[in-house]
């Protein structure tokens, strides 16, 4: 199936359209809220919450007996929130550190959830099959009403984000200052955390409890590399998330036996790796290039300084010297010398060199004034 055919199918086929739209919206909302989680150093909170949501799903099913995804997600939301606040309780009230608290809640809630799931499976209730789709998610089970639900929650998130933008931003970067200005930091904190929980719960059906945290982190971590502005980062993260959803769905639809959740996560991870390497200001590639260039500059300057030292001993600064003099000197190579000639700092006549007027002045001021960029 080629790409145009696939795109046509996305617009005509009900299932494919629903899934593509669903994963795209999901990616956008998790990317958006994930930016806050990443910047607040709560990256692993998402992991803990998504695992902690599992018993909520099972209990909601045990109580209502219905498999309606909205009912189950409310259960997930409640148990996710309980997990979140218990983590807080452990960190503030005892000397256990946050990593221990996260690991505890994550594994204990998840284990309890698995106990309930296996318990439900043994029940004589024909309706029980399919609850385990929440483990790894099954995008194929998305229906239009789920997508509507996601869209509504996303727009609520967006509205709240816009209304409280200033507060969120301030709390993010200077919590103490926010408090002294008289904002109710506790309320803002709970608001943003609750929305993060909401976004996670929303994705459980599609991506599953185990991999949900990556949906939160990966787009945000990728977006972080491209910008230093919060608004831009949130926007980019939403964009990356949405694209991860669309591409992931496309890849998993193109072959059999590929579940959507893991593929989306892998696509998002590819975005992250790409951003880590190729981001112009923070990326590893450009950092390395800058590093090499700086080193070359330094070598150039060293050679120039050395030449200046020799030239200084003569009345006439353009007095020629043998190139041989420069041998055994660290910064000197044939190419650095060539560079200096290109810059008009040095003139070469046969095997002799002499500093030019410009070169002499530059060298004299090398360490005393702010250098304008050399290359």
């Amino acid at each position: 199936m080629d790409i145009t055919e696939y795109i046509q199918l996305v617009f005509t086929d009900y299932t494919l359209r629903t899934i593509t739209l669903g994963t795209a919206i999901l990616g956008a909302v998790t990317g958006m809220l994930g930016s806050f989680a990443v910047l607040r150093k709560q990256s692993l909170l998402g992991d803990a919450i998504s695992h902690a949501a599992l018993p909520g799903i099972a209990i909601a099913f045990l109580i209502t007996g219905s498999k309606d995804s909205n009912t189950l997600l409310i259960g997930a939301l409640i148990s996710g929130l309980i997990g979140t606040f218990w983590i807080r309780g452990i960190v503030t009230k005892t000397h256990l550190k946050s990593d221990t608290a996260l690991g505890l809640i994550l594994s204990l809630f998840f284990g309890f959830g698995m106990l309930l799931l296996t318990f439900i499976q043994k029940q004589p209730n024909a309706n029980q099959a399919g609850l385990d789709k929440y483990l790894f998610g099954q995008a194929a089970t998305l229906v239009e009403s789920d997508v509507w639900m996601m869209a509504i929650v996303t727009s609520i998130c967006l509205i709240v984000l816009l209304i409280f933008w200033k507060e969120f931003k301030m709390l993010l970067f200077d919590a103490d200052y926010t408090k002294t200005l008289g904002f109710n930091t506790k309320f803002i904190d709970i608001l943003i955390t609750s929305f993060i929980v909401l976004a996670i719960v929303l994705g459980l059906q599609t991506v599953g409890v185990v991999l949900m945290s990556a949906m939160l982190l990966a787009p945000a971590a990728a977006a972080r590399q491209w910008t230093n502005s919060l608004a831009m980062m949130v926007f980019l993260a939403a964009l990356f998330g949405a694209f991860a959803g669309v591409f992931g769905t496309a890849i998993s639809a193109s072959e059999n036996n590929l579940s959507t959740g893991p593929i989306i996560v892998l696509v998002a991870s590819v975005f992250v790796v790409f951003s880590f390497i190729f981001s112009p200001s923070r990326g590893l590639l450009f950092k390395q290039i800058r590093f090499i260039r700086n080193r070359r500059d330094l070598e150039l300057n060293k050679t120039l300084a050395f030449m200046h030292q020799i030239a200084e001993t003569h009345e006439d600064i353009s007095h020629p010297h043998a190139v041989k003099l420069l041998n055994n000197f660290q910064g000197y190579t044939r190419s650095t010398l060539q560079k200096l000639v290109e810059k008009d700092y040095v003139q070469i006549n046969g095997s002799m060199w002499n500093l030019t007027k410009i070169g002499f002045n530059t060298a004299a001021n090398l360490y005393t004034k702010q250098q304008t960029k050399d290359e």
Binding site: L102, F136, F276
Partner: protein, 386 residues
């Protein structure tokens, strides 16, 4: 109790003990979430190892999968070192990616792999006794018991051999380094043991519940003691206790053994969290309340000492002046009277000689910035605590 039941409980207990030892150090070194990352990311290692060996209990598979665990740790540290993201984000990025690869590998080869995703998450403890190790034609017990038993013995011997090094490097990295213990070797040694244990336990309890067995007993023990040896012993006991009780709960509910072991662990932690003698929530809340009242008492006594005027020392006035609620001022007054710090004469409060002495000492300590001494002094003066 049948033989198989006994064997399951034995395996579960050995797994719990083997997990509790590295878990204790992970909790103390604030690296608990690394165990979560390792337990997820060994999945591709296990799948690839399974393609090669076709046997979930083969030592080669365990080493291969444990190697994936080490790769995770190295990868996390590399990403962290680039400074592009924080440490926790680095962990959160690496393991879902590796886990996804594992899940996809399983799904793509579902036909020829005797591994399914449920088993990955939950393990197959109930079936463990059926996979026997047969040596020279004689049945010497379940394979997984031998695997995890070997791991436990290796872990314990490493623990005994390097106890001192581990202890020093856990609590004082700088001292350990200056004494000549390489922090890197200890760090990666611990990571290797954690990875191997995770892989060994994986077969019995599944990828995610290993994390519970590592962290929960250690965390509960940490709330009860500050002595490393006691903490290790307590963690192992909690683990074994939960393993056995969890088995019987599962038996009764007819549900997943691993799930119920975790649930029991959760209950054990909850009980300790609430009722631990000095660090539990109830004890902490009580102590906070006590200290609040005692601080109020001190403020009150200082106020009395500052003012000789009768009007400032009238019971009614105190409510307005220090701006306390009625109930609060009453409890503070009661406490002061019970301790013979004040006497109330015709609604006028004044310090007794004991109260006077206490307050002067307290002022001295406050002026010389030795506030912590006041806690000790309270023991000398107070008959009743707040």
């Amino acid at each position: 109790m049948s033989n198989a039941q006994l064997e399951i409980q034995l395996i579960a207990s050995v797994v719990a003990a083997a997990c509790a030892i590295p878990g204790t150090f992970l909790v103390l070194r604030k690296m608990a979430m690394i165990s979560d990352a390792i337990s997820h990311s060994i999945l591709p290692g296990i799948v690839v190892g399974f393609f090669i060996t076709q046997d979930l209990n083969s030592p080669l598979l365990i080493l291969l999968a444990a190697f994936t665990g080490i790769i995770t740790v190295v990868l996390v540290e590399y990403i962290q070192k680039t400074g592009l993201v924080k440490e926790d984000t680095a962990i959160g990025l690496v393991f879902p990616a590796l886990f996804s690869i594992g899940v996809i590998l399983i799904a793509k080869n579902a036909n020829d792999v005797h591994l399914d995703v449920d088993a990955v998450l939950l393990g197959e403890l109930a079936f463990a006794p059926f996979d026997r190790l047969i040596l020279n034609g004689t049945d010497v017990g379940p394979k997984s018991l031998w695997v995890i038993g070997t791991i436990l013995i290796i872990t314990i011997s490493l623990l005994i051999a390097f106890f001192k090094e581990l202890k020093v490097s856990t609590f004082d990295k700088g001292l350990a380094a200056s004494l000549g213990f390489s922090p890197a070797i200890i760090h990666y040694g611990l990571m290797s043991v954690s990875s191997v244990t995770t892989v060994g336990a994986f077969d019995a309890v599944g990828a995610i519940l290993v994390v519970a067995l590592m962290i929960a007993p250690a965390a509960a023990a940490y709330l009860l003691t500050t002595n490393l040896k006691k903490m290790l012993v307590l963690a192992i006991s909690f683990g074994i206790f939960s393993a056995i009780l969890g088995y019987w709960v599962a038996h009764w509910l007819d549900a997943s053994i691993a799930g119920s072991i975790t649930t029991v662990l959760g209950l054990v932690f909850l009980l300790v969290y609430l009722f631990a003698p000095s660090k539990g929530i109830i004890a902490v809340t009580y102590r906070e309340k006590q200290q609040r009242i005692e601080v109020s008492l001190l403020t009150f006594l200082l106020h009395l000492k500052n003012h000789d005027e009768v009007s400032e020392r009238h019971v009614k006035h105190l409510n307005e002046h220090i701006n306390w609620q009625k109930v609060r001022s009453k409890s503070v007054l009661d406490l002061a009277q019970k301790n013979n710090m004040i006497h109330i004469d015709n609604h006028i409060v004044s310090l007794t000689s004991k109260g006077n002495e206490f307050t002067s000492k307290a002022i001295d300590y406050i002026i010389t910035n030795e506030d912590s001494q006041i806690e000790d002094m309270k023991n000398d003066f107070f008959l009743f605590r707040g």
